[in-house]
């Protein structure tokens, strides 16, 4: 029959599952926003609280029902009709009731009885509630107010595992950003220790060390999304470090990649898949997976102060490497060919390092090589 329909091309502005529960089909973020705004009324995306009284009046008029029916409807649908305690004694909302029949509660009881790895750090308890501190936060000036209908993206940046290899769980940070942020804003928000590494041997001049940070020396970086390399070209020293990969791909019959500038690309201009792993590369070979886990319209309970974005909402605490002398402070120096050290190489905190290797006047004692060290957990 001629009437049989051709399967429609997947729309590039309405994402669907590409793989169930893993990632979406590729879509253009800006037109995705437009599609939502086309379908919604301004009050749907407004940050003002909803007016229930005027809603009920409108509803009654539209359905052609009187005040009596509305009163009944209101009471039938009230939230009170869902509660089961008898009013005189409110039970503890944190305690699982003893005679519960719901499977969820049986499961929770089992979970609660399990010997748990007690977390001994208060940071861990609140680590996923970071964004709630800023929920509904209003800006001081109107200019910093998040516009209604703006997009909020949730972005996970995963860290390369250098010391321990855990393949099941990778350390990551989660950032909330808006649709009008550029990729350069994202780059500046990623805290990675390799940006802070100080290169060079400083055993003769330990006070000079902090002046040479990798971030200031090697400024090139790129993001890779859907076949496009977005290079950081903000500074004259920046190079297109993606060209090596692009040339290689060209000479090996791979599909063509293209380039664009990180600082000129807003999230609204991007075409991506939600949930799909992409790449951030800096310092030449420090590679991070980047996953956009969510794209949605801003809600009135979001932080409404644009100054507070990119907003950090999750951070893994990393195990820190301690000084091998005092075992208290985080390592700041490491030495090699060091006659005072128990191992080669060896890690020292600043105080122990100086006490052991220099006299009162700051003169170097003995032979050793010293390099500044920035711990992965420096941002905890």
């Amino acid at each position: 029959m001629a009437a049989s329909e051709q399967p429609a091309e997947p729309s590039s502005s309405i994402p669907d599952y590409e793989f169930m529960n893993l990632c979406s089909t590729p879509f253009h973020i800006g037109s995705f926003r437009d599609e939502w705004l086309k379908r919604l009324k301004p009050e749907n995306v407004s940050f003002q609280p909803g007016d229930l009284d005027s809603f009920e009046a409108r509803f009654a008029a539209a359905m052609g029902v009187g005040e009596e029916t509305m009163t009944e409807l209101r009471s039938v649908c009230s939230v009170d009709s869902l509660l089961c305690h008898s009013g005189d004694q409110e039970p503890d909302p944190e305690v699982v009731p003893p005679n519960a029949t719901l499977q969820t509660l049986t499961h929770r009881k089992k979970q609660n009885n399990k010997p748990q790895k007690r977390t001994n750090n208060r940071h861990d308890l609140y680590v996923d509630e970071l964004d709630r501190l800023t929920a509904g936060r209003l800006p001081e000036t109107e200019a910093n107010r998040l516009p209604e209908g703006e997009l909020i993206l949730t972005i996970n940046i995963y860290f390369p595992n250098t010391v321990e290899k855990f393949n099941h769980l990778r350390a990551h940070t989660t950032l909330l950003m808006t649709g009008s942020h550029t990729l350069a804003d994202l780059r500046d928000a990623v805290c990675c220790v390799s940006d802070l590494q100080v290169c060079g041997e400083f055993s003769s001049t330990p006070d000079m060390a902090p002046d040479f940070m990798s971030k200031d020396l090697f400024k090139s970086a790129y993001f890779f999304f859907e076949g496009v390399f977005y290079n950081d070209m903000r500074y004259p020293e920046c190079q297109d470090i993606s060209s090596t990969t692009i040339d290689w791909a060209k000479s090996h019959n791979y599909p063509q990649f293209s380039t664009a500038k990180m600082e000129d690309t807003r999230f609204l201009d991007l075409k991506v898949k939600v949930g799909y792993p992409y790449l951030y590369c800096h310092q030449g070979d420090c590679e991070h997976l980047v996953i956009i886990t969510d794209v949605r319209l801003a809600h009135r309970s979001d932080c409404l102060d644009t100054d507070l974005y990119p907003l950090l909402t999750h951070k893994n605490r990393l195990v820190t490497q301690k000084c091998s002398v005092c075992h208290v402070f985080i390592g700041r120096w490491y030495t090699t060919r060091d006659q005072f050290a128990p191992s080669d190489p060896c890690l020292f905190c600043d105080k122990c390092f100086r006490m052991l290797h220099y006299d009162k006047e700051g003169n170097k004692l003995g032979a050793f090589l010293a390099y500044p060290y920035v711990d992965r957990g420096a941002f905890n």
Partner: protein, 363 residues
């Protein structure tokens, strides 16, 4: 938190199943079951509250969407409403609606308004007014982290609207129309071939003679199969279909039964015309082709295989490309290469040092 998904799902399905038995869409009926099951206690906990609220809302959202029947979707909406208002987190977690699902929400709203289901429409619009929805790209946050081998989420069969598109498509009108066109075609063909001199022209046969009746009997068989599948658990022979159909009271069955009338008639009509047609007995297998279609899944070759097919590389490069790329290869070097530059790279040797330190301290 992921371990809670299964128990939450079975609790929701237990509630929805009881709601389904009442054959009602009234919120009052739903809230009574909710209270009887003490569902509000689901939020009794001391930690991870926000993640748990997220999970229950995501679970409930599925029942609000097709392919579930209208009644179950009403139950899904009531679940969302109850979870949203009973949660203990502040500010509350919102209900995520994906752009691709928005049309389904609007159609659902229209259906409930048309049917004057005041409570359904009131609750949906009240949630909207409360700003209870997040307008999102996908229904849940996606991390690309779940195991690909994870068991396919099972959709509760009893909650499903039965597919009735074949019945809708192959109706009386269509089969009449097709018979007419077929007659016309045959007549035209006959008149043309009578003018032709060669015998070969008359033997041209492009259309199967019994196409209309075949189509109708295929749909009939589909319907019978659908009916039998429902009663298979109760071991009822297919001949008792009519009586079991009377027992079945849910809306979907009734709907399917009403629609079945639409093609029972044309199949009678076709039978009466049979003397004009040559009956072709199809092999039984072909008749059941729709059954096979349902079971075979179209499998797309993996990206790796597609790449391998399209890109041919030779020598070392080819061998390298054929190997699986482990995730940690993205950040570590080949052992040989690592050995070579060990002396030049301070960080590598330091990392090894740290690794040995970590190992020794953990003993």
């Amino acid at each position: 938190m992921e371990s809670y998904r299964k128990p939450v799902k079975s609790d929701c399905e237990a509630l929805l199943s009881r709601f389904q038995q009442t054959q009602s869409v009234r919120f009052e009926v739903f809230s009574n079951i909710w209270k009887e099951m003490k569902f509000v206690q689901i939020f009794r906990q001391s930690h991870n509250k926000r993640a748990f609220c997220r999970l229950v809302l995501d679970v409930a959202y599925c029942y609000f969407m097709p392919p579930f029947s209208f009644q179950i979707r009403v139950g899904g909406l009531y679940l969302l409403y109850s979870f949203y208002h009973c949660q203990t987190t502040s500010p509350p977690e919102q209900i995520r609606v994906a752009l691709k699902d928005w049309e389904d929400v609007r159609n659902f709203e229209k259906e409930s308004l048309d049917a004057q289901h005041l409570d359904v429409a009131y609750i949906l619009q009240q949630l909207m007014t409360c700003k209870a929805f997040l307008f999102t790209a996908m229904p849940t946050l996606l991390h690309y982290s779940r195991k690909r081998t994870e068991e396919k989420p099972e959709l509760c069969d009893e909650f499903m609207e039965r597919p009735c598109r074949p019945q809708e498509l192959i109706n009386t009108q269509l089969s009449e129309e097709m018979s007419n066109i077929h007659e016309l075609y045959k007549n035209t063909k006959a008149s043309i071939s009578s003018q032709m001199s060669t015998a070969a022209a008359a033997s041209v046969s492009l259309i199967r003679g019994g196409i209309v009746s075949e189509l109708c009997s295929a749909v009939m068989e589909f319907y019978n199969w659908q009916q039998n599948r429902d009663t298979v658990g109760e071991a009822q022979p297919s001949q008792e279909r009519i009586s079991s159909q009377q027992e079945c009271s849910n809306r979907a069955t009734l709907l399917a039964a009403i629609k079945s009338k639409a093609y029972e008639e044309p199949s009678e009509a076709v039978k009466s015309r049979r003397h004009r047609q040559v009956e072709i007995d199809l092999p039984a297998e072909e008749d059941k082709s729709f059954l096979k279609l349902r079971h075979s899944r179209v499998t797309k070759p993996s990206l790796k295989n597609r790449t391998k097919e399209q890109i041919h590389m030779s020598g070392d490069l080819g061998r390298e490309a054929a190997r699986t790329t482990l995730i940690n290869h993205l950040v570590t070097l080949e052992p040989a290469l690592q050995e070579k530059i060990k002396s030049e790279r301070r960080f590598k040797s330091l990392n090894e040092y740290l690794e040995s330190q970590t190992k020794s301290t953990s003993h």
